[in-house]
Amino acid sequence: MSATRLQTAPDMSGQVRFDSDGARLSVQGRLTIDSFEHLDRDVIAQQASRAEVVDIAQLSHMDTAGAWFLLDLAGRTSAGAASVITGASDAQTLLIEAVRTNLPPKAAGAKPAVRLVDHFETLGRRVALAGSHALEMLSFLGQVIAAMARVIRHPRALRLTSVVHHCQQVGLQAVPIVALMAFLIGVVLAFQGSAQLRQFGAEVFVVDLIAISILRELGILLTAIIVAGRSGSAFTAAIGSMKMREEIDAMRTLGLDPVAILVVPRVLALVLMLPALGLIANVSGLFGGALMSWIELDVSPAVFQARLVSNTDVWHFNVGMIKAPVFALIIGIIGCYQGMKVGGDAESLGRQTSASVVMAIFMVIVADALFSIFFAIVGV
């Protein structure tokens, strides 16, 4: 059989060539990982199975991938051993030997197929995991409350600078966005409400609509949602990246309590600031509503104010303010807890941050629903 030329690509810079004359498979040129892209490895393997010797005396350059390929070919020859490779230089022998000792262990074993039972098992594990997470979070809440109690007994243990810093971060800096959001909500409520109420000639009730919905529900709920997105995620990211770089572990070994140092100031700042933000949202929402009522319905600010004072029970406002610290606690605890759950990789930081926001918002809404039931029962 005459020499078969397998390499169809142009022979530039000594690209690899395999020539087979029955018992001898000779290789020349450069056998590197790049050459694999245009080699027909199956055909060469076939030729190797007929060969007895793999001659690489003409091989000018070879890398680890090339060495592996030669070993693979040698394994297919009738002798089936690396010894059929002849003509290797010292360096090439070294490399082939290095690759040969590091070949993958035989019979790595295919992965067993996934069965229906496995899916049930996964589901079961997930449920158990969710349960244990809920427990963990409860215990985390306990730790935070214990740390707070300690702070109350020893006020000097409080990291005041840290609390003030976080108050600025979560409170002061959130004022513009919260105020704007509430203002727009007030405008929208007045606009939509007036369109409906006008049909009954009951325009003036728009004041009650705005006041009750903003003071009782929307002001604080939407503020909590914004704060969860803004600060809850920031808590998770900050604590999470500290966790990733082993800073939390370092604190523990130095006898510093990460809960007292990192979590308490953040949660405390939120508990202090969320009611304040809620108040701002209420004022700004009412202002937006009043403005729109004036423009749309000719309800003058004086009338708006008079109706607001006479018709709206102060308890609507109180209900909103009672909820605020609870929402703050939920957001703070979830944000910090998720931060503590971050593992060693960047991926988990992202995962926990988004989990933190979703979970905080969801739990805030659940809590809001529970509050509604509670207040309905006690009748305020």
């Binding site: 070294l94 490399l95 993958p104 593992g343």
Partner: protein, 265 residues
């Protein structure tokens, strides 16, 4: 394989000046690295060894000076040339810099995936060979970086650096934090790759054993410059306080392979 009889240095640094704000790290630094050699770069902590490495591979823009690798200026290349250049070197950073969301094998596969069009099985197989070559157990392939020890992460970083059998590898303290047996095996591996692949190695290290065992030449960084370049013998003979302290200190004596009577302290 006989190394390329190319007299031109494979890395050529001329008049390099690096600054961070007002801090001058390098001031008129010159360095030549020859093809096929293992050059050890030593210097005190903070003398700018890592910064030099980052400048050579084009990650840092020098304030002044020329850096050529394979005769090409690393900063003045267009994207395609730089890509081709990058293909010819591998870098292992001081702290491994593994991609934390990928397993060890996927980390090693990453440069292959980026640069070559191989089928999945072959790529996994070649990556597996590299992982075992650097001395990691086979089952470590599927571990994520956060599940590895510091030394294992170094090895995985090295496996990724040599994934494409580059012509130059830049290693930033590869043996720091390895046990002495592992460090010696690492040295052997680097030497073996140099011999079998004609690899040029830019090795930042404080490990005197590595310097003795595998480095062809040593470059000493001090006073914002390369103070001296030469073989171990030349370094031992050099008369500079820091260099003398470095190569003749108590640790250096312990590492010197020449049998010396043990000192009792």
């Amino acid at each position: 394989m006989p190394s390329d009889p190319n007299i031109d240095p494979i890395i050529r640094v001329r008049g390099l000046v690096t600054r961070f704000g007002t801090t001058v790290v390098h001031d008129g630094l010159d360095l030549d690295v020859k093809r096929g050699e293992i050059i050890g770069v030593v210097g005190g902590s903070g003398t700018g060894k890592s910064v030099l490495l980052r400048s050579i591979v084009g990650l840092l823009k020098p304030a002044e000076g020329q850096i050529e690798v394979f005769g090409q200026n690393v900063r003045d290349t267009d994207a395609d040339d730089y890509r081709a250049l990058r293909r010819r070197w591998g870098v292992m950073f001081q702290d491994g810099a593994l991609f934390s969301s990928l397993s060890v094998r996927q980390n090693v596969e990453a440069p292959m995936r980026e640069q070559l069009d191989l089928d999945d099985d072959l790529r996994a197989l070649l990556a597996g060979i590299k992982v075992r070559m650097v001395g990691l157990p086979n089952k470590a392939q599927d571990n994520y970086p956060s599940e590895l020890s510091g030394g294992m992460r170094k090895r995985a970083g090295f496996a990724r650096a040599i994934a494409l059998d580059p012509e130059i590898v830049f290693l930033d303290e590869p043996t720091a934090g390895l046990d002495p047996i592992g460090a010696a095996a690492f040295d052997t591996l680097i030497k073996q790759l140099q011999l079998s692949l004609g690899l040029t190695v830019f090795l930042v290290t404080h490990d005197l054993d590595s310097l003795h065992a595998i480095c062809d030449r040593i470059a000493v960084l001090a006073d914002k410059k390369v103070l001296a370049v030469g073989t171990m013998q030349e370094m031992l003979a050099l008369d500079h306080p820091w260099v003398h302290e470095y190569f003749h200190g108590p640790r250096a004596r312990a590492a010197t392979p020449v049998a010396k009577p043990k000192e009792t302290e």
